[in-house]
Every structure is written in structure tokens, then in C-alpha cells.
């Protein structure tokens, strides 16, 4: 074997492979990133709004994600047969919904006092309540008659655009679609129109859709509710503690007026970046960007960064749960936000632990045979970050034994510097995965936008070399600094005993 040779050869092409991005900013503050690639079969397009659940507050948790859904409901031109009537109906619906809220608040009050058991039971409703529901049904029906269903999607699809979707995370909301190269102007038309003239129609049925999404991802999965509770325990003051999808009570209470205010503040062009990767002419794209997105108005005030900082943890926290899952342990420590000078060392540290040739598999799975699977990760977000280590206990072993074995590995990281060859192995993997990450137009667009949503797109070129500079001492130093006894957060899963017939013996 020839480690030294490989090292040198790998570092040469790395420096040469910077992503060539053409950047420009419109007068209204909207930023564009262009990466032309001749011969691509499509243009991967997207834009990012620098807003996510971390920018919410109690009462409207989940609004970032709900709002993402509303951006597909159309505009003054798209999605309706009669915009005047449609807007009038929206206002009427808001008025009736506001009256209905008073009825719902009354039911909530009675539930609090134990006077009723179920706010959904029609028997508990007042006559006025029932009347308002009928009124809503009547207005909704009239609005549906004016709708051009799924018009936004249909216009794109009928021109051959594909993979239209969007996503919301703690720190950002991203919208994307692939368009045929000859139809790039359609993208400029559609995206600038939904930013300039959106109409949040079908708001309340979409709120129900989002609640179904929550049931699908959280409530009706074996561990969804437990992991949600662990997150809420881990974050004390930081808004990362509530779920992106939102708390159920908020999902049933967010109003259309909430969404309108949220849009005005967070979807102004100075809070957005767009990106195109694929077969297009950058000069033409720049002209189209000015023509279409130039009409958006800069907001009078810039959205403020999140104020609430996670307060330091003072003692170990444990959550013990029985669920329909294998016996497992997860250990979390608060670390650093995305881009912190300690993040490369923490990322290298977790890489030393991971994969087939990593320490956790070798030690916990193969040698000690205490776990059947184990992994770790550094998760740097915009304002905070954490390292999580996990292990699934082998049958006959306990999560506590896995936990102790994980602490042993942490201790080893703190007391012994990583051998040079082991360190070089993970660096080689970073170097190769760098190329793999740049291959897909779509994935590159996605990464550029997410980078620009936080520290700026240039980190896509400047971060990778930092990994190569991490030393064994760096790894040892961050292991000591962040993995402390009072900073532990532990989630222990036991397998829930099955009850009754039909279950496992």
C-alpha cells in the first residue's frame, strides 16, 4: 500500500475543481446564481427563502411549511376563472372563520374545565357554530366553482417540466423544478408571478392536508412522537425545539391572515436567492431575471436574525421510552452551528466513527458484539448544532451496554490522537465525495441554494479544503471540548411489550 502517494495525487485536482458560479444581484436585492452546463437535458431551477420553522413563534409553529404548500395555489392569473370574485370570497371566508374561532375558543375553554370531552363532537357545538360551518361550506363551494384546479402545476407539466416540489426545514424553504432548456422563460414567468401576485386560496383545506402530513410522518410511525419529544427536551430555549411540521393545536389554528403577514416579511426579494444549473445562455438568463423578477418590491425592513440563543445545559438529561422499535440508544451533545471553525474537526471525528471500516462498526458491532448497528453525525444548522451517536443493541444486550460502549469510544477520541493513516482514509473519502456531489445538476443547484441560504454559496468551494487541514490534535481537542458529562442528552428505547391477540408472542 502507498498512502503518501495517494494523498498527494488526490489534492491536486481538488483545487482545480471549483464550481464556476456566475452571480448577480438585482436592484431589489434578489440574488441569482448561474452554472451553465452545455449538453444537459434540462435546466435544474430553484430558489430559496431564508426562512424556516426557526423563525416562528408559539401559536404559529408549522406556518413556514404550511406556507410552502400555499405557494402552489396560484396567483391573480393562475388558478381562477374570476379573480375579483375569488378575492371577495377569500375575505368573506376570513370573516366567517374569525367568528368561528370564537366558537372554537369557547369549546377549548370548556375542554380545559372538563365540561366536554371532545371539541370535535358535533353535539358540543352551539347553533351559531353549526350555522358558521354551513356558511363556510357554502363559501368554499362557491370558491371551488371559480377554481382552475392545480393550474400552477398543470401549466408546468403541460410544457414538460418535471419534479416540481418544495421543502421546508428549520432554517430555509426551497422551491425547485426541472424545465426543458428551450422553455426557461416559462420558469421566469411562473416563479416571478407567484412571488408578485400570490393568492392563498384553499387555505383551510390545505391546512388539513398538512395535518395529514403530520399524522403520516409523526403520529402514525413507530418512533415519530418519541423523537419529537426528545427534540423538545434537547433544545431548552432555542426554537429548534419545535417540529418543522408544527404542533397539532397550531396547525388547527393558523389563519390566512397569519400567512399573509408572514409572506410580506419573509418572501421579499431581498430575502431570496435563485439558482439555475443546466443548458442555458447566462446572458439571456440575466436579461430574463431583470425583466421578470425586477418587478418585485424590496421589503422596507430586513427580516431579523433569530434572537433566542440556546442557553447552556447544566446537567445530563435522559428520556426513557418503550416503543415499537429495537432497543436503541441515542446520545446527543450540543456542538456548533454550520460553518463554525470547529465544525470540520467535528465532521472528521464522526467520519472516523462511521461506515464499515469505522470505529463503531469495528468495536461495538464486530469485536464487542454489543450492537447490531451504530453511527454518528455532526449536524450544523444556522444558529446551533449537535453531534448525535446512535447504536441498536444486539439481541440479548441492553441499550445501556451500548451507551457505555459509545462513551468508551468518545473517551478514546479524547485521550488518543487518531493514527495518521486512519485520518488520511477519511480525508480521501471527503476528496472523492466532493466530485460525486457535483455530478448531478439538480443536486448542485440544491447545495448552492442551501449554502446561500446561510453563509453564502462560496462555502461550497471553500469548505472542502478545510477538511483536508484537520489534524489529529484538532479532533482530540473538539472531543474534549464538546463531549462533557453535564452536556449529555440520552434517549433510550426499549421494545414495547405487545398486548393482546394478533401480536408477537
Amino acid at each position: 500500500m502507498k498512502p503518501i502517494l495517494i494523498v498527494i495525487l488526490m489534492l491536486i485536482p481538488l483545487a482545480a475543481q471549483n464550481v464556476p458560479v456566475q452571480e448577480f444581484v438585482l436592484d431589489n436585492g434578489m440574488k441569482f446564481l448561474l452554472v451553465p452546463r452545455r449538453g444537459s437535458p434540462a435546466v435544474a431551477t430553484g430558489w430559496i427563502a431564508r426562512v424556516g420553522s426557526v423563525n416562528e413563534r408559539p401559536g404559529i409553529t408549522g406556518i413556514s411549511h404550511l406556507f410552502e404548500h400555499m405557494m402552489f395555489k396560484g396567483t391573480h392569473v393562475i388558478g381562477t376563472k374570476n379573480i375579483e370574485e375569488d378575492l371577495k370570497l377569500n375575505l368573506e371566508l376570513d370573516r366567517v372563520k374569525s367568528d368561528l374561532r370564537k366558537e372554537e375558543q369557547e369549546l377549548a375553554r370548556r375542554l380545559r374545565l372538563g365540561e366536554i370531552a371532545d371539541v370535535k363532537d358535533p353535539k358540543n357545538r352551539s347553533a351559531r357554530h353549526q350555522q358558521l360551518l354551513a356558511e363556510i361550506e357554502r363559501l368554499t363551494k362557491r370558491q371551488q366553482e371559480l377554481l382552475v384546479k392545480s393550474d400552477f402545476d398543470r401549466i408546468y407539466s403541460s410544457q414538460g417540466a418535471t419534479n416540481m416540489n418544495a421543502g421546508t426545514d428549520h432554517d430555509f424553504t426551497i422551491y425547485f423544478i426541472n424545465v426543458p432548456p428551450n422553455k426557461l422563460e416559462l420558469w421566469f414567468w411562473m416563479e416571478s408571478d407567484r412571488l408578485a401576485n400570490p393568492v392563498f386560496r384553499e387555505f383551510y383545506s390545505e391546512r388539513d392536508v398538512v395535518h395529514e402530513e403530520r399524522r403520516l410522518r409523526t403520529d402514525s410511525t413507530p418512533t415519530g412522537r418519541y423523537v419529537e419529544q426528545f427534540e423538545a427536551m434537547f433544545w431548552k430555549s432555542s426554537p429548534y425545539g419545535w417540529p418543522v411540521v408544527g404542533w397539532p393545536s397550531d396547525l388547527e389554528a393558523i389563519t390566512r391572515e397569519d400567512a399573509v403577514g408572514y409572506y410580506a416579511l419573509n418572501y421579499a426579494p431581498n430575502n431570496l436567492t435563485a439558482c439555475l444549473v443546466g443548458d442555458f445562455d447566462p446572458a439571456e438568463a440575466m436579461a430574463l431575471a431583470k425583466k421578470y423578477f425586477g418587478r418585485l418590491q424590496r421589503s422596507r425592513q430586513e427580516p431579523e436574525p433569530v434572537r433566542t440563543v440556546e442557553t447552556p445545559q447544566t446537567g445530563e438529561q435522559r428520556m426513557v421510552a418503550s416503543a415499537d422499535t429495537n432497543p436503541e440508544v441515542r446520545i446527543r451533545y450540543h456542538t456548533v452551528a454550520d460553518g463554525h471553525i470547529d465544525e470540520p474537526a467535528l465532521t472528521v471525528l464522526t467520519s472516523l466513527l462511521n461506515d464499515r471500516s469505522g470505529r463503531l462498526y469495528k468495536s461495538l458491532v464486530l469485536e464487542q458484539q454489543v450492537a447490531n448497528a451504530a453511527s454518528s453525525s455532526q449536524n450544523g444548522m444556522k444558529y446551533e448544532g449537535y453531534v448525535e451517536l446512535r447504536g441498536v443493541a444486539k439481541p440479548g444486550k441492553t441499550p445501556e451496554q451500548v451507551e457505555q460502549a459509545l462513551y468508551k469510544e468518545i473517551e478514546k477520541l479524547q485521550t488518543e490522537p487518531a493514527p495518521p493513516r486512519e485520518l488520511q482514509k477519511v480525508k480521501n473519502q471527503f476528496a472523492a465525495s466532493r466530485f460525486r456531489q457535483l455530478q448531478s445538476d439538480f443536486f448542485l443547484m440544491f447545495q448552492l441554494l442551501i449554502a446561500d441560504g446561510n453563509r453564502g454559496w462560496r462555502v461550497i468551494n471553500t469548505d472542502p479544503p478545510l477538511m483536508q487541514k484537520v489534524t489529529a490534535e484538532d479532533v482530540q481537542r473538539v472531543a474534549k471540548k464538546y463531549f462533557t458529562a453535564e452536556g449529555k442528552n440520552v434517549l433510550v428505547f426499549y421494545t414495547k411489550k405487545k398486548a393482546g391477540a394478533g401480536g408477537a408472542p
Binding site: 500500500m1 488526490m10 434540462a42 410544457q159 441498536v392 493513516r421
Partner: protein
């Protein structure tokens, strides 16, 4: 909130909005340059190695990487009945169990240091293996990769670990409604005797030995049974020479690989329920048997299904169940033609317990609707354009091209299929769509499966008492499917 802004958005009439110079009022006024497309031909990239393997090579010099993917004609269908789980274990243990000369830890360490991603696995009717490495490391990478393919070690301790992991996974078989739904709809469609519904049990997994793995590997892993897809940063001639050398002297076996068996089961229409008390959302799948890929109507069926429920937001089922009623986050249908035997038509969605019946009723209405009425020319045009315009994206990267060529070759797709695809799609008419809807959608044959909290599902929505689970299945009483013992897959008698 800032009321001034709110008012601006809520109260301005569209006439008062500034008209933007030069921006068309509606996207239909935009003009696009035509962009004709001819798909690449597999024959231009096909090579036959002297060992008997067929290879498809596609060069791409944008990044210093090479991808080698291997497809093998083998799969679960070749397992003997007491050895369910064997094929999957062969696939995974080829990668995990080292080689005859490299113990597992040595193999893993070499691959990791080279930063070479090497994988192996096996599915129902195909085995796969792949290598992805820096192009300058292709010699070392290919040597490791072919050592794994030719001389797998199947180390005993790794097999023991894999068994333990499989048994642990089995314990979780009845935990999520999603996995229960997938398992039970397959059994309802294919019956219990077909290989596609045979599941590994504690007994079968414990009976699988290292010798079983080695025998399975020896029987099916030989060059004439391989299709290779190679893409990336190489010169074709030089790469061919490397492949020739890597596969040289590898003996082929004489016997023919047995054909994939067809299921002999006729699904029994009706309503089937699985009770799971700890969820607040029901998962529903309904469907019946479909067609094979060589059915001349399969493109028309594909478009018909897109309009019904396969085309995302523009499809009728998602539009009604999700955007009109807010009853589900995801809802849709699939009508995938089978390669070796009939595929299935299936509709799936998830809705809170109280509205499961209402959503099923809407789906049934839409199935009737597409049979009884012609689709509009606009609906047809939307889905056809999308399919035709999406064709270049199937060949988007060198890797995608090579992989599609190899898969088409292994599954014997007609050579002119992609060249004729757009023309055949564009020839479809609303009458043709209705004809295939009537011919291939069979409401009376539907199997309806609902997994969830059955008391709550039966109760329904107090505000919509007209919807009830008792209205489906032609008045026949619904059947309860119990949960099997996850380790033996024995279902309790009811």
C-alpha cells in the same frame, strides 16, 4: 403583523396592479423554440467481452470518476423453499464477507482508503453490484471489485452478524402500518405460494449456511449472465481492455437460468382490514392485477393512469382527495406493467381514521368516471407532453444512459422502443384512453385493504354519515387479516 401590507395584498383589485412592460399576461402567450430530440442508441455503446459478458460503455469526462455497474440474471425467485432469504444474503455477503484472499476487514480497509464505493445486493429478479472510484484508481478499484465478484469469501462471522441483523429486523415486521400494508397487499394480489410474497423466517435464515451462499454464487455469477454499465472518465478502448483482463478465464456455466415463475393466484375482490390501535391515520391500498410490459396498450394505460392518479397534482385522485377535500397528504395510483408477469393497478393514500371511507368513495367515483367518460384533450396533452419532454431526462447522465441500456438488454426490451416512444405517445387520443380504461380497469375486481384503527375507521366522520366502510366490496362482509407471528410468518387462526 403590519396591517398596511396585509391590506395591500388583500384589497387591491388586479386592475390596480402595475402592468409590467413586456411581460405576457398569461404563460400561454410565451413562444418557445422547438427542440427535437433523438434518444441515444444502445447498439452504439454495446460491446461483447470475450468472457461472454455484455457491456455498455458511455464516456463522460466532466469529473475524474468511473462508475461500473453490474446486473446479474438471478434473484429471490431462484431460492429453494426452505431457504427464503438466501438470494438477499448472497447479495449482501458478497460485499461484507471478504474474498478468498482478503479477509473482510482487509477488503473494507482497502476500499475505504481508495475512497472506492463498492456495493452488492440482490432483488426479486436481478442481482446488482457496483464500483464508483476516482478514474486514476480504476486499476486498483476494478481489481477489488472483480475479486469480490469472482472470489467472495462469505466469512462465517459476517454471515452470523447478518443473520442476527435480519432476525432483529423481522421482529419489527408488525410495527409500522406502512410495512403491514405493503406485505398484505402483495399477499392479496399474488397469493401465498408465489416467490414474490415468500418472506424469510427465523427457521429459513438459521438454516442458510456459508455453503448455500457459495453454491448460489457459483450457479449464477458468471460472465455470460452479466450486463455491465460502465460510465465516466475513460477512453472506451482502454476501458474495454481493462474489462477483458478483469474477466479473463472466468468459466461460464452451461445450464440455462430458469425463467421467472408467474403467480397462479386470482385475487378475491372485497374489503380487507388489519387492525392497529396505536395510529390515528389509516393506510389504504386498493387494486387488481394489471398487464405485462409487452402489452401493446401499455403506453395508453400509462397515460390513462397518469390522468387518473399517477400524474401528481394534475391527476384526478390527488386533486379531489387532497386539494378539494384535504383528506390526505399523498394519494395516487400506479399501473406498472410487469416485465416477467402481470403487474398491478393500485391506488394508495393515507387519511385520518374518520375520513378513510370518504376518501375510498372518492377514489371509486374517479375510477368509474374515467371508464364512463372521455378525458379532455387538455388532460391528455398535459400528460403526453410531460412523458415526451421527460424522455431526454431518462438519458440525462452517462451513468443513467449506461444503466438504462444494460437493464433494457437484460430484460429484453425491444431495440427500437425509445426511438418510437414519442411518436407512439403523440398518437394517443381521448377515445383510446377511454378504451383502455374500460378494458383494463375492473371496479368489480378491486381488492380494498385498510390498515389502521378499525373502530375509528368504522365510526367514520360524524359530519358525513353518508360515507361508510360497509358500502364497499359489493355488500360482502369485510375480512379481518390478523397479524402473523413475525418470526414464523404463521397467521393465527380466527
Amino acid at each position: 403583523m403590519r396591517p398596511a401590507v396585509v391590506c395591500l395584498l388583500l384589497c387591491l383589485s388586479p386592475a390596480a396592479l402595475p402592468q409590467d412592460a413586456g411581460i405576457p399576461r398569461h404563460p400561454r402567450e410565451l413562444k418557445f423554440r422547438p427542440r427535437p430530440y433523438t434518444p441515444p442508441r444502445a447498439a452504439d455503446h454495446r460491446h461483447r467481452l470475450s468472457s461472454g459478458a455484455t457491456a455498455f460503455l458511455v464516456e463522460d469526462h466532466d469529473f475524474p470518476l468511473i462508475q461500473v455497474s453490474l446486473l446479474v440474471r438471478a434473484g429471490d425467485y431462484l431460492e429453494s423453499s426452505g431457504k427464503t432469504g438466501l438470494a438477499g444474503l448472497v447479495g449482501s455477503q458478497m460485499r461484507s464477507g471478504g474474498t478468498k484472499t482478503r479477509p473482510p476487514a482487509v477488503f473494507d480497509e482497502e476500499a475505504a482508503f481508495l475512497a472506492a464505493n463498492i456495493n452488492s445486493g440482490m432483488g426479486a429478479t436481478q442481482g446488482q453490484a457496483s464500483l464508483n472510484c476516482l478514474s486514476k484508481e480504476i486499476d486498483a478499484g476494478l481489481e477489488l471489485f472483480v475479486d469480490m465478484l469472482r472470489n467472495p469469501g462469505f466469512a462465517e462471522d459476517r454471515l452470523k452478524l447478518a443473520r442476527s441483523q435480519m432476525l432483529q429486523g423481522m421482529e419489527r415486521r408488525n410495527d409500522s402500518t406502512a410495512s403491514i400494508e405493503g406485505r398484505e397487499i402483495a399477499r392479496l394480489m399474488r397469493g401465498e405460494r408465489h416467490f414474490s410474497t415468500a418472506l424469510a423466517t427465523k427457521a429459513t435464515v438459521e438454516s442458510i449456511t456459508r455453503e448455500d451462499l457459495a453454491a448460489f454464487h457459483a450457479a449464477y455469477y458468471f460472465p455470460a449472465n452479466f450486463a455491465l454499465a460502465v460510465s465516466g472518465d475513460f477512453e472506451t478502448r482502454a476501458m474495454l481492455a481493462k474489462l477483458e483482463k478483469a474477466f479473463a478465464g472466468w468459466q461460464n456455466r452451461g445450464e440455462k437460468i430458469p425463467p421467472v415463475p408467474r403467480p397462479d393466484h386470482t385475487p378475491a375482490p372485497g374489503v380487507y382490514l388489519v387492525d392497529k390501535k396505536d395510529v390515528n391515520q389509516g393506510r389504504v391500498r386498493l387494486g387488481h392485477l394489471g398487464v405485462t410490459r409487452d402489452n401493446p396498450d401499455h403506453l395508453a394505460i400509462d397515460i390513462m393512469n397518469d390522468i387518473l392518479g399517477g400524474g401528481g397534482f394534475t391527476s384526478r385522485i390527488l386533486s379531489r382527495v387532497r386539494s378539494d377535500e384535504g383528506l390526505a397528504y399523498s394519494a395516487g395510483s400506479s399501473f406498472l406493467p410487469g416485465v416477467y408477469y402481470e403487474g398491478t393497478f393500485a391506488v394508495g393514500f393515507q387519511s385520518k381514521s374518520a375520513t378513510v371511507a370518504q376518501a375510498i368513495a372518492i377514489v371509486l367515483e374517479e375510477i368509474d368516471n374515467i371508464r364512463n367518460n372521455r378525458v379532455t384533450p387538455e388532460e391528455l396533452a398535459t400528460e403526453v407532453t410531460q412523458a415526451v419532454e421527460n424522455l431526454p431526462r431518462r438519458f440525462a447522465t452517462a451513468g443513467a444512459r449506461a444503466a438504462l441500456f444494460a437493464d433494457d438488454w437484460l430484460t429484453r426490451r425491444p431495440e427500437d422502443y425509445w426511438a418510437r416512444y414519442s411518436e407512439r405517445m403523440r398518437a394517443l387520443t381521448p377515445a383510446e384512453i377511454q378504451r383502455v380504461a374500460q378494458k383494463y380497469l375492473h371496479p368489480e375486481q378491486l381488492v380494498i385493504l385498510a390498515v389502521g384503527h378499525q373502530d375509528d375507521i368504522a365510526k367514520g366522520n360524524p359530519d358525513k354519515p353518508q360515507y361508510s366502510m360497509t358500502k364497499f366490496g359489493g355488500g360482502k362482509p369485510s375480512l379481518r387479516i390478523p397479524l402473523p407471528d413475525p418470526l414464523t410468518m404463521v397467521y393465527p387462526k380466527q
